[in-house]
């Protein structure tokens, strides 16, 4: 699909989501969640469609999308690892673990591997401090990470 047709496709799929969720009170965040679920990210081309549907300005929608780190501008890899970088995890050796994981994956924060297998992101507290250091892989939380667990993880996402 060329970019023009892709935008048209994004627009029509976005319209369907907006149409479905518009009656909600405060529909913008639920719409953005569904769009991210639909496309794997929040495409720029969907923003004017949302703005028009909710009778907001493009600027307002952009302001909200850019405020939340969870809304992606580009599609993520097939697997998404979110490693906690907050205080409790740091105190349990999170920094060294992070170094190791980045090294194993050959990636820096927010990067996606060239084969599209994995995206690595920092996250600031998963509410799992009692099981620090913690991470979230494809929506599932993992606690008490150590060097071996990280190695398994790196292998698993490449499989």
């Amino acid at each position: 699909m060329d970019s023009c047709h892709m935008d048209a496709d994004i627009a029509s799929r976005t319209e369907a989501i907006v149409g479905r969720l518009k009656p909600l009170e405060g529909p913008l965040l639920p719409i953005l969640h569904d769009i991210q679920a639909e496309f794997g990210y929040v495409p720029q081309a969907s923003l004017p469609v949302i703005a028009h549907g909710l009778n907001l300005s493009r600027a307002e929608v952009h302001g909200v999308v850019s405020f939340y780190h969870d809304y992606r501008e580009t599609p993520a890899g097939r697997h998404v690892i979110k490693l906690c970088r907050a205080e409790a995890c740091q105190s349990m050796g999170g920094d060294a673990l992070a170094e190791r994981l980045l090294g194993l994956l050959g990636l820096d924060w927010h990067e996606t591997s060239a084969d599209g297998a994995v995206t690595i992101e920092p996250v600031y507290c998963l509410g799992l401090c009692a099981c620090a250091p913690a991470a979230m892989v494809d929506g599932e939380v993992i606690g008490r990470l150590d060097a071996d667990a990280v190695q398994d993880l790196a292998k698993a996402v490449r499989a």
Binding site: A59, H62, F67
Partner: protein, 961 residues
């Protein structure tokens, strides 16, 4: 004359009536309940340091500089977001507060450039002021950390740095100077209502973003400049300030664009305008402006301005520059010759809705007292003359009934044939603010204008009627109100003539006027009409605002009467929040009408046949006035073609471009022997002129403009006229050359003459205007301070008059040859014929007129977006580019008339309003076909215009006389 420094109270005024008593730093003060501690302090004369607060927008509480301590409360609350309470004791300056503020400033400055000396805001920077106010002496953090300031950091590109956005022609956005106070974002939302700006990202990444991280020009920004005004630093700065520097004095004056009549401070350096800043005390605009008023004044110094009088024998000759004396003598001689040869009525004059009241008064005086006839007319003929007629009949005065503040009390607005976001932008912003607060909107317009649906505004009903069916739709609304018993019987019995109401009610109740019956030819679904009628009649305070889409029809006057009927039948007259409000097109169209510009009326709308009225003027002027009404503009042109009307003095109006049926205007002008054009530029009409008298801009003269709410605003001179004479002086000298004994040394003397002769202006004087800022007429013994709302206790004519409004379709119909209906309008960035705005950077938004066409109609004709198309009617044809849009309904096309190259009025017909001759600009049957170039007519026109604009290089080249 110093620079006017308006006090910034930090937060908007509270409208509460109850007051509370607070003590701030030992000073006790009573303020309205709901006032912020910050505002109360300012009223007590104590300025609490602040950055994110300004009184044009609501409190936000983000900068943490305005903290105070309150006895009996913990912590250090922000004074902007804390309302006062009874007995509150506030301390604004303590050791703790000083430390916190200095710490906050230290953080701000650690991420801010230190180029104060070369910064455009130097001398007008709140950040600089606050650094001084809190005693900042050192920044302990240094400047080497992460920042938004430097393009390169440690030899690498700084990813946080954003380059300056200079896309807008009038202001720049320099993100490196931004302190993210959100004032611009809030001004755009709360004041302007466009929502073009946002804060993107979060934390240290937060940036002001137009649109979706776009440039200002590509975003939704309409360049009103509210953000620039709100910005406390140099982040958003007028390019004129960057180029010139800070102003040193300012003068309050009135904008010369639309009928809103915004008050501005002209901020000056010497005789150079540095910037125009809307004046907070301006009662029409309350501190707001649009792109035209704030920025588009560069035409005043444009190189195209003609600065010397010019004369020529024939219109095919090049112009010859002459002295003022020679020009006046020539005109006087010619006019007297024409009157001698062809009779007293062979000459006339046209007054301008752009010029001041005083100048207009002089032109009609020149015609009546000097020419000895009543051949005077004005451009209001082609816009709001039906308003004068219709409201005059129904209420007894043609005046709009409200002031603009009234919109703040409105619950339901009906907007008919007006597009305020383009035509009256500052009023549109005030309306949108009210709509966001919950008022309902009904739009009656063939086009889907912005107010039908745009960010945070949505009309409850849009009635997209077929052009030309206004009367049928309004009568159908009345039908619903009468037959469903929604009328206000008590109001009608008290204020109107009951038997006339009964007659009218019987008429509108006829089944032929039901929404179901009229739907067939108006195209408006009956249910929408019924819903709108119920909402207006039962929704609380109902106000009607209307524009030229009402008046510029063959049934313009009937539509105005139908509007008056609706207001009366629902009791929506005579208090704030209701009324009938004509949105006047030009700055002084109200004033021009007030000043006796019509051939049948002396100043104050008094018929020329009245002996008593004539007597007043005859005694004062020492002449005998002709009791017979004179010629209207179209009649003058007809008479010119017939050979009985030979000379005309046209002040500040371009009838060739603005009046309908261009070819007829051309023929009329070409037939005359002495056409005198008095204007800033060689306009289109000047192509047919024999004498050109250079005009002056609103910046170069004293006077008054009267806006759409009858408000008389002062215009003050801020620079000497570049052409040497203000317009009133030109008319004065011309009159003197014609042998009239006129002596005015200042426009205030002319206003005194108006006051002495015209009862509704009896108490108006420059002294009063200087004292009050402005007054709304009637201003007389009964209302010495003016009249914000008309018809408070009864109509001017006594009882309100219901008038039957029979729908008669226009003779202009679409058919097989011309299957589409053309309607015309305006766009935000351009004004009227564009003589001024086309000579400013506003062309960046609208460089040419476009033809809006529905995708369905375009596809049938094989027209793509942006194609050159030929637009043809029975009158003529022109070519322009197409814009495919669903804003217009199928069968309807739309264009503007801002550019002479297009000459949309060559298309419009000579059909006019039955009562007033107001032309039917809004309905023309047309055909649209693909085209590959300008039409023959456009080429001929261009050739003639180029030929006609030649000015002889030197007097020496002229043959000896």
């Amino acid at each position: 004359m110093p620079l006017i420094q308006e006090i910034d109270y930090g937060t908007p005024a509270s409208k509460a009536e109850k007051t509370v008593r607070v003590t701030i730093d030992g000073t006790t003060i009573d303020v309205p309940e709901g006032t912020s501690v910050m505002r109360a302090s300012m009223e007590a004369g104590i300025q609490v340091p602040k950055l994110c607060a300004t009184d044009m927008v609501d409190a936000f509480g983000s900068c943490r500089l305005c903290l105070v301590e309150i006895e009996g409360r913990n912590g250090t609350p922000a004074s902007c977001t804390t309302p006062v309470t009874e007995g509150m004791v506030v301390h604004t300056q303590t050791g703790r507060l000083k430390d916190i503020r200095r710490g906050v400033m230290e953080l701000y400055i650690s991420d801010h450039p230190l180029d104060c000396l070369t910064c455009a805001a130097n001398g007008d920077c709140e950040l600089q002021d606050m650094a001084g106010a809190v005693g900042l002496r050192d920044v302990r953090y240094g400047y080497d950390g992460e920042n938004h300031v430097r393009a390169r950091q440690n030899g690498e590109a700084n990813p946080r740095y954003m380059a300056k956005d200079e896309s807008n022609p009038y202001f720049t956005y320099d993100p490196s100077k931004c302190i993210v106070c959100s004032r611009c974002v809030r001004a755009c939302e709360e004041v302007q209502g466009t929502f073009a700006l946002t804060i993107e990202g979060r934390g240290f990444e937060s940036r002001v973003s137009p649109g979706m991280h776009e440039s200002f020009m590509n975003s939704e920004c309409v360049s009103c400049g509210a953000c620039v005004q709100a910005c406390p630093t140099a982040t958003l700065t007028e390019k004129s300030v960057i180029e010139i520097g800070q102003p040193e004095h300012s003068v309050v004056t009135t904008c010369a664009y639309c009928g809103v009549g915004c008050s501005f401070k002209a901020e000056m350096r010497g005789q150079e305008v540095v910037r125009m800043v809307p004046w907070k005390d301006g009662k029409a605009n309350r501190g707001h402006s649009c792109v035209k008023g704030r920025f588009a004044w560069g035409y005043a110094t444009h190189k195209d301005r003609i600065l010397n009088p010019m004369v020529r024998e024939k219109i095919t000759d090049p112009w010859r520059e002459v002295s003022w004396d020679e020009a006046f003598a020539h005109v006087a001689k010619e006019f007297r010759r024409l009157q001698f040869q062809y009779g007293k009525g062979a000459i006339g004059g046209i007054t301008s809705s752009r010029c001041t009241n005083e100048e207009t008064f002089l032109v009609q005086k020149l015609v009546r007292a000097g020419f000895g006839n009543n051949n005077v007319d004005t451009c209001a003929r082609v816009c709001h003359s039906p308003t004068g007629y219709g409201l005059g009949k129904a209420f007894g005065t043609s005046a709009g009934t409200q002031d603009f503040d009234s919109v703040e009390h409105t619950d339901v607005v009906i907007l008919i044939g007006a597009n305020p976001t383009d035509g009256h932008p500052v009023f549109a912003s005030r309306l949108k603010k009210r709509l966001r607060a919950g008022a309902k909107l009904i739009v009656i317009d063939p086009r889907r204008i912005d107010l039908v649906r745009s960010a945070h505004v949505e009309a409850s009903h849009h009635l997209p009627l077929k052009p030309g069916t206004n009367v049928a739709v309004l009568t159908a609304l009345a039908h619903v109100i009468v037959t469903e018993g929604l009328f206000d019987e008590a109001f009608i019995r008290e204020r109107c003539d009951w038997s006339e109401f009964e007659d009218w009610a019987g008429f509108v109740a006829e089944p032929a006027h039901s929404p179901e019956a009229t739907e067939q030819f108006t195209g408006v679904p009956a249910e929408e009409v019924r819903g709108a009628a119920r909402l207006y009649a039962r929704g609380g305070n109902g106000a009607i605002y209307y524009g030229l889409g009402v008046t510029e029809h063959s049934q313009g006057s009937t539509t105005v009467m139908a509007i008056a009927n609706l207001a009366m039948v629902t009791g929506n007259i005579g208090r704030p929040g209701v009324g009938v409000n004509p949105l006047r097109g030009q700055n002084n169209v109200q004033g021009a009408c007030d000043m006796g510009s019509f051939p049948h009326e002396l100043p104050g709308y008094r018929h020329i046949s009245g002996t008593e009225v004539r007597d007043v003027f005859e005694k004062l002027w020492g002449v005998e006035l002709n009791p017979e009404p004179g010629l209207r503009i179209p009649n003058m042109l007809d008479a010119a073609v017939e050979g009985t009307f030979r000379g005309i003095y046209i002040q500040g109006e371009d009838i060739l471009q603005s009046d309908p049926d261009t070819k007829h205007v051309q023929a009329g002008l070409a037939a005359m022997e002495c056409v005198v054009v008095h204007d800033l530029f060689l306009n289109e009409t000047a192509n047919y002129a024999h004498v050109f008298l250079p005009g002056s801009t609103f910046l170069e003269k004293d006077g008054t403009f009267t806006n759409a709410e009858r408000r008389i605003n002062r215009v003050r001179k801020v620079m000497s006229p570049k052409n040497g004479l203000a317009d009133w002086e030109v008319t004065l000298r011309l009159a003197q050359a014609m042998g009239l004994d006129w002596n005015y040394s200042h426009p205030s003397e002319i206003m005194d003459e108006v006051a002495a002769t015209t009862p509704s202006f009896a108490k108006v004087s420059y002294a009063l205007l200087d004292e009050k800022g402005s007054v709304q007429w009637p201003c007389n013994e009964a209302n010495p301070e003016g009249t914000p709302v008309m018809h408070l206790d009864g109509f001017v004519r006594g009882k309100g008059k219901f008038i039957r409004t029979e729908y008669v379709a226009t003779d202009e119909r679409s058919g097989p040859r011309f299957p589409l209906l053309l309607t015309t309008g305006r766009i935000l960035s351009q004004y009227n014929v564009g003589a001024q705005t086309r000579r400013t950077e506003n062309v960046a938004w609208h460089a040419e007129d476009m033809l809006e066409i529905h995708p369905h109609d375009a596809e049938q004709r094989g027209i793509r977006d942006g194609d050159l198309v030929k637009l043809a009617s029975r009158s003529g044809e022109t070519a322009l580019r197409s814009k495919i849009t669903e804003r217009v309904a199928p069968g309807v096309v739309y264009t503007t008339f801002h550019h002479p190259g297009t000459q949309a009025n060559v298309i419009t017909t000579d059909y006019t309003d039955w009562a007033t001759n107001c032309p039917e600009y809004k309905v023309t049957a047309v055909q649209v076909t693909p085209s590959n170039g300008p039409t023959v007519w456009q080429q001929d026109y261009e050739a003639q215009a180029t030929q006609s604009r030649r000015i002889a290089a030197e007097a020496a080249l002229e043959p000896a006389e």
